[in-house]
């Protein structure tokens, strides 16, 4: 048992750290720190900087242009990224679709799509959830009917994150109504510019158009856009969902959030002294920090098992639940910390290029918006209820 990084891992950490110090534009890290909305161009810029270094796809094998890092190296990289307030790497092409194509895609698909993901030629979004298929994903009803050399797709997807920026969408579609619902699903790649596709933004409770509905009305999709075999899409979708996700606990985000919370609690005055000296408030922070310290190690235990080649199964569910609870509580306490200045609706001040000064201290503007927005953490990617069911079945065998 040794809780420290090896010398090699330390050297890697230092390398990442100095790269970020040198290459991460302060314009971007400032926006992340303030909780401002990043534009499409911001994301693309940061992806390009990482890609130039060969670090955009840490999880991809080298033969596909990735960095080929193991789970510990990826953890170190993600940890340093959040510490430096770097924009997160968007997961749709890199973490979600990429591994599926590498495992199940045709050679042509790999050669065509993977470099385009790295170079930022395609912006992918995810077409999984539907109005009637959320936690119960296998009940997807969007259909794809084979007609010669193409499919005709009809239906609706929803909660499509940043779909407004995307030119490509990977979808779960129903190609058969025979057998169990899971057995008639296929994995299809669809050009968002195809005739018959409509995107409608959904405004979330923080006022931001982060997610979308995507409608398909007789959309023609060439058969070569099918990934793997017809009616095997559920296997690929599950691979994507359970594919080892070292960042699922969000330890880096939690650490950054806790630091921010402490900074605010030091700056805020309550009854003539810093809020952080209020024993009741300090106790709430302390309980979170204690929980986070233990969770970080749980995370590392899973990470190092993964690095040794053991794919985590239901452990990811555990990390997801604990991680999201901690992050949501940090957001709630941050909202509490800013006091009455949590009340102004600050959407405009958080927009890109806004020269509007926030009402109250600068750290107050994003507190409520982030609290509201991060209620999603326990809902998306398999709700925490679904994760608990996985744990009770897969680990407890109940």
């Amino acid at each position: 048992m040794d809780l420290n990084y090896t010398d090699e891992q330390k050297a890697f950490r230092d390398e990442v750290r100095s790269f970020l110090a040198e290459k991460l534009p302060s314009r971007l890290s400032d926006k992340v720190k303030r909780g401002q909305t990043l534009t499409k161009a911001d994301h693309e810029k940061w992806h390009a900087i990482l890609n130039e270094k060969g670090w955009l796809a840490g999880n991809w094998p080298k033969k596909f242009g990735g960095a080929g890092w193991n789970a510990v190296e990826r953890h170190i990289f993600e940890d340093e990224m959040t510490k430096a307030s770097a924009p997160r790497i968007l997961p749709f092409g890199l973490a979600m679709l990429g591994p599926v194509l590498q495992q199940f895609g045709s050679k042509e698909q790999q050669e065509h799509y993977l470099p385009r993901i790295l170079n930022g030629d395609d912006w992918w979004c995810q077409g999984y959830s539907e109005p009637g298929a959320g936690s119960d994903l296998a009940s997807v009803r969007t259909t794809a009917e084979r007609n010669d050399d193409h499919y005709i797709v009809n239906g609706q997807k929803t909660w499509t994150t940043l779909g407004q920026h995307a030119n490509m969408i990977f979808c779960l579609v129903r190609t058969s109504k025979e057998g169990k619902p899971q057995e008639g699903i296929s994995f299809l790649l669809i050009d968002m510019d195809s005739p018959g596709i409509k995107v409608r933004p959904i405004i979330l409770i923080d006022g931001e158009p982060e997610v979308n509905e995507v409608f398909f009305d007789d959309v023609k999709v060439p058969v070569e856009n099918l990934v793997g075999e017809e009616n095997k899409g559920w296997t690929y979708a599950k691979y994507l969902l359970t594919h080892e996700r070292t960042n699922i606990a969000g330890v880096g985000f939690a650490n950054a959030g806790l630091e921010n919370l402490k900074r605010i609690a030091r700056a805020e005055q309550a009854s003539g002294r810093p809020l952080i000296e209020n024993p009741h408030f300090a106790a709430r922070i302390a309980r979170l920090e204690i929980d986070l310290m233990a969770m970080s190690t749980t995370n590392l235990r899973v990470v190092s098992k993964a690095a040794a080649g053991q794919a985590p199964g239901a452990e990811s569910s555990m990390l997801k639940i604990k991680g999201t609870i901690i992050r949501q509580e940090i957001n709630a306490l941050t909202r509490s910390a800013v006091g009455p200045y949590a009340m102004p609706f600050a959407s405009e001040a958080l927009e890109d290029g806004s020269n509007q000064q926030p009402v109250g201290p600068d750290y107050a503007a994003s507190a409520t918006a982030q609290y509201l927005n991060n209620r999603k953490l326990s809902i998306y990617g398999g709700s925490n209820e679904v994760q608990r069911t996985i744990i009770s079945k897969a680990i407890l065998e109940l």
């Binding site: 309550a270 102004p344 009402v359 109250g360």
Partner: protein, 377 residues
């Protein structure tokens, strides 16, 4: 012991519930996001005509009720529809302070308030006061017979629509001293007073109020110079009751929405309300809302008691409401899933308004500490 409403209160509740249910339509909600004042003048006039504003004042002050249970009743109904009308600011705070401290001339304004023709706001909190009621750094100096105010007031709800703003300012003493706080009635168009107006997460609007050598006549002083603190605390207790009752109404509507959703939303071939994991959590939500109802009743019954008894109940109720509000809002969003995250669905506004309750008149932690000082330690 009797927990039934009197006949008069029952009538008021029935009438108000009907009025608000018919009024707070999706069309009105859309209109409100555009409204410059943050609320609808038509709804306000309707409330005044029904006598809802008068129900918040005693007969001595020209109203017809004004007890704790009247406040609780009115605000619970407002909460049920997520109403954004500034009754709390105009009637409970502004009107309440004038009724408590004003001279006969100043009290004329109460009649206009009850009639619905005057809007008020109370500018008390400051950028560094947080929830500390005695921390007033805005200062009032004498210049002959007139008073000169300088300072900054923060998150003054309804200030953008107010005809008059009641401003607390320090005539003497240290920044946090209870004595030395005076109250002034400042016309909205007073030169040297400027507002930065903005929308609130909960709906409605507020402003940062900047006072730069605001010169006021002797008649602007409300009550005795330097001795407004006790009445400010008393009115804050009534405001805390109002916002707690509003939170209760919000909780009830959120519970109904969520229960309906659990019954209708199907996943895995059955309504999600058939899953025991959700049933038990919803049962806990129900239990906590009943706790919230009792806490509101406790405060309503003690809001006119002597200070020590009253304030113990203020802090007990506001602490409990703050904790239950968080639970109800978060659980309802979670049990709804994605749809609970959308601005379009009714839950969004109700949940945000409920969460924001903790940021006015002291949050759960503030009142926990205050309760310890008043009742435990």
């Amino acid at each position: 012991m009797n927990f039934e409403l009197t006949e008069e209160r029952q009538m008021l509740q029935d009438g108000l519930r009907r009025f608000l249910r018919d009024t707070y339509t999706p069309a009105l909600r859309a209109e409100l996001t555009e409204a410059e004042s943050g609320f609808s003048a038509d709804v306000w006039n309707g409330l005044a005509e029904m006598g809802v504003i008068g129900a918040l004042f005693s007969e001595d002050d020209g109203g017809f009720a004004g007890a704790g249970f009247d406040i609780a009743l009115v605000f619970e109904e407002l909460g049920r529809v997520g109403a954004v009308d500034p009754l709390l600011d105009t009637a409970i705070l502004g009107g309440g302070l004038i009724a408590a401290l004003g001279n006969d001339d100043q009290k004329q304004m109460i009649a206009d308030t009850i009639a619905g023709t005057t809007q008020l706001a109370f500018a008390h909190s400051e950028p560094s006061s947080r929830y500390d009621m005695s921390r007033v750094e805005t200062n009032a100096t004498r210049d002959g017979d007139s008073h000169v105010l300088n300072g900054r007031k923060s998150v003054v709800v309804n200030a953008p629509a107010a005809d008059h703003i009641l401003v607390s300012a320090r005539s003497s003493g240290d920044a946090a001293a209870k004595s030395g706080i005076s109250l002034f009635l400042v016309p909205a168009d007073a030169p040297a007073m400027s507002l930065r107006s903005y929308p609130l997460v909960s709906g409605g609007r507020a402003a940062e109020v900047l006072l730069e050598d605001v010169k006021l006549g002797a008649d602007a002083l409300i009550g005795p110079e330097g001795a407004a603190y006790d009445e400010i605390t008393r009115i804050h207790a009534r405001a805390t009751l109002a916002i707690s009752a509003e939170a209760l109404g919000l909780m009830e509507s959120i519970r109904e929405l969520t229960t309906d959703y659990l019954k209708t939303r199907k996943q895995f071939g059955k309504p999600i309300g058939k899953f025991q994991a959700l049933q038990h959590r919803m049962a806990d939500v129900l239990i906590e809302i009943e706790q919230a109802r009792s806490a509101v009743i406790n405060l309503a019954g003690h809001v006119d008691e002597p200070t020590d008894i009253r304030d113990k109940h203020v802090s007990a109720t506001k602490n409990l409401i703050g904790n239950v509000a968080k639970l109800v809002a978060e659980e309802s969003i979670q049990m709804h899933g994605g749809i609970g995250m959308t601005d379009e669905y009714e839950l969004g506004h109700l949940a945000k308004r409920l969460i924001m309750v903790d940021h006015r008149f002291g949050d759960a932690i503030h009142h926990l500490e205050r309760f310890i000082a008043l009742a435990v330690a």
